[in-house]
């Protein structure tokens, strides 16, 4: 069963809840459940929540509530986790990917490192359902796990100055889609034509923490029809 959860002070108006020492699907579901409950319990006294791999940062309005009240709300939410069905609370999102050497410059090297063919790497990457463990680093950057150990590949020794928007990448047992052009050290295996972060649309992201993600291979023509640019 789940380990003992602890609540620590993070700052004058913030508490952090540690759910476990290691991330797992169970812990991720528990965190997502707690997020939902706290939004209800804390209402307008809540400023923000940062769910991550095995923790949840709770930031509150110190002029409307205090540490003790928020601690009570968190404890109540945690106690109710065990009464909540252990199914995934998030939705399943499918993201299209154009896997190729022209869209994924590290694809061949990932295959070589793994001792597999490029086709096998592409197939394995699509076989898993990935969980959104955390969103951070940049707006819309979702950390997805876990990558099949056969294609887990360490980060580049020297990060690239520019990784294009939509790059689908692997770092160890994590995978992600770069939401915007940025520097980055992950291994690039394809491009996703769907915007991962768009401040002009609502919702601005196709995924949230706790959701599940599947990748689906598309060809170049489909990629371009969906608005993808090489």
């Amino acid at each position: 069963m789940s380990a003992e959860k602890t609540i620590s002070i993070a700052g004058e108006n913030a508490l952090i809840v540690y759910f476990a020492d290691k991330p797992s699907a169970t812990i991720s579901t528990e965190i997502a459940t707690t997020v939902k409950k706290l939004k209800t319990y804390l209402g307008a006294t809540l400023i923000d929540l940062v769910p991550s791999y095995a923790s949840l940062l709770v930031i509150f309005d110190p002029f409307k509530t205090d540490h003790q009240s928020v601690r009570i709300a968190i404890n109540t939410a945690i106690k109710k986790i065990n009464n909540t069905p252990k199914t995934s609370s998030g939705s399943l999102v499918t993201l299209p990917v154009y896997y190729s050497s022209e869209s994924g410059p590290d694809l061949q090297r990932v295959a070589d490192t793994a001792g597999l063919t490029v086709e096998e790497v592409i197939a394995i990457h699509q076989q898993s359902e990935y969980r959104v463990y955390a969103i951070g680093f940049a707006p819309g950057f979702a950390y997805l796990g876990e990558v099949d150990p056969r294609i887990a590949t360490p980060r580049l020794a020297t990060p690239r100055q520019q990784v294009p928007r939509g790059a689908v990448a692997i770092a160890d047992r994590q995978t992600a889609v770069y939401p915007a052009q940025s520097p980055g050290g992950w291994n690039l295996i394809g491009l996703c034509p769907q915007l991962m972060f768009d401040p002009k649309s609502s919702p601005s992201m196709p995924v949230a923490v706790g959701d599940l993600v599947r990748f689906e291979a598309i060809d170049k023509a489909t990629f371009e029809n969906l608005g993808g640019v090489l």
Partner: protein
């Protein structure tokens, strides 16, 4: 139409900021907003504005504006020479501005951030409910794309006439000449992974501000603090969190911090003291003092009470 302040020179680094962008951490968005909330609040109150309305954060100085509108204007914060039509004008008070007026800021003699507010605030389209400029995220600001002010920008503002002018009494103004700050800290996060020796060393040592300090965080230099753990699973970071990378030198995380990080943290600097830190320039001296959570809560409440317009003196002209 086209009423506002025209940017003749943007200066070193000038950003449109309001109270900040909140409730968006789940998409990885940081808060932005003024580093020195106290000076920012006073600039707005001097212009009879709500405290968190959009004004300009001027880092170090050099901003030159030309007005096309009748309004009021106030500059607070860092001690930057201000002139209106080449006539020296005092900080910490509001001034009447007419079309054609030239507003020039020199460079800071002490402090690092000044705030320039106008009556009714600057108008810009909010992104996620805020105009706070966060260049790293490409969000907010005049063009909603995270860019800093540049020559030729027109900062739209309302026509404001026949309002009173105000001044903040001298005893309430901050003085940055010492270039030093004592920062109060609420212990927390991975605190238990710092030994008593390390904690004592941290609180009894002075640190200095390095030049690698910006709106994301202030990097300090001084006694090395090595916690018992090197890294942690990435977790949420709140304003003022003090983190220790493997080199043992503290970084205090500020308004534009990344929302998650994996370095051990000892606790967080009281928000009331964040502005004091952000006014320091490279070489500035920093000391830390631990306070209890109860002390922090009463200090916060006490601080908040001062920002009321009845503290201001009406200027008789």
């Amino acid at each position: 139409m086209n009423n506002g302040l025209k940017v003749i020179k943007p200066g070193i680094y000038s950003l449109l900021q309001d109270g900040g962008r909140y409730g968006q951490h789940s998409m990885g968005l940081t808060t932005g907003g003024p580093l020195d909330r106290s000076a920012f609040h006073w600039a707005n109150l001097l212009c009879e504005n709500p405290m968190d309305i959009a004004s300009i954060e001027v880092t170090v100085g050099g901003l030159v504006l030309e007005s096309t509108v009748t309004t009021t204007l106030a500059v607070t914060g860092a001690d930057i020479p201000l002139s209106i039509n080449k006539q020296p004008a005092p900080l910490w008070q509001s001034h009447s501005i007419n079309p054609g007026d030239l507003i020039e800021l020199g460079f800071a003699r002490s402090g690092s951030r000044a705030y320039l507010a106008v009556g009714g605030g600057f108008q810009a389209d909010p992104v996620f409910n805020s105009v706070a400029t966060v260049p790293r995220e490409g969000l907010g600001g005049l063009h909603a794309d995270g860019t800093a002010l540049k020559s030729g920008d027109l900062l739209p503002c309302k026509r404001i006439e026949n309002t009173s002018l105000w001044q903040l009494p001298e005893n309430l103004r901050a003085d940055y000449r010492q270039n030093s700050a004592r920062l109060r800290v609420v212990l927390g996060y991975q605190q238990e992974h710092f030994s008593d020796t390390q904690l004592q060393r941290f609180f009894n040592s002075g640190y200095s501000v390095t030049k690698h300090s910006d709106r994301m965080g202030y990097r300090l230099e001084g006694a090395e603090i090595i916690p018992a753990i090197e890294g942690i699973l990435s977790e949420g970071i709140c304003l003022g969190a003090i983190q220790f990378p493997p080199d043992g030198q503290p970084i205090v995380l500020l308004n534009d911090r990344q929302t998650m990080g994996g370095y051990p943290k000892i606790g967080s600097v009281l928000s009331v003291d964040i502005g004091k830190l952000a006014q320091l320039s490279a070489g500035g001296r920093v000391n830390f003092e631990a306070i209890s959570i109860e002390q922090a809560q009463s200090l916060l409440a006490e601080n908040e009470k001062q920002f009321v317009s009845k503290q201001l003196l009406k200027l008789c002209l």
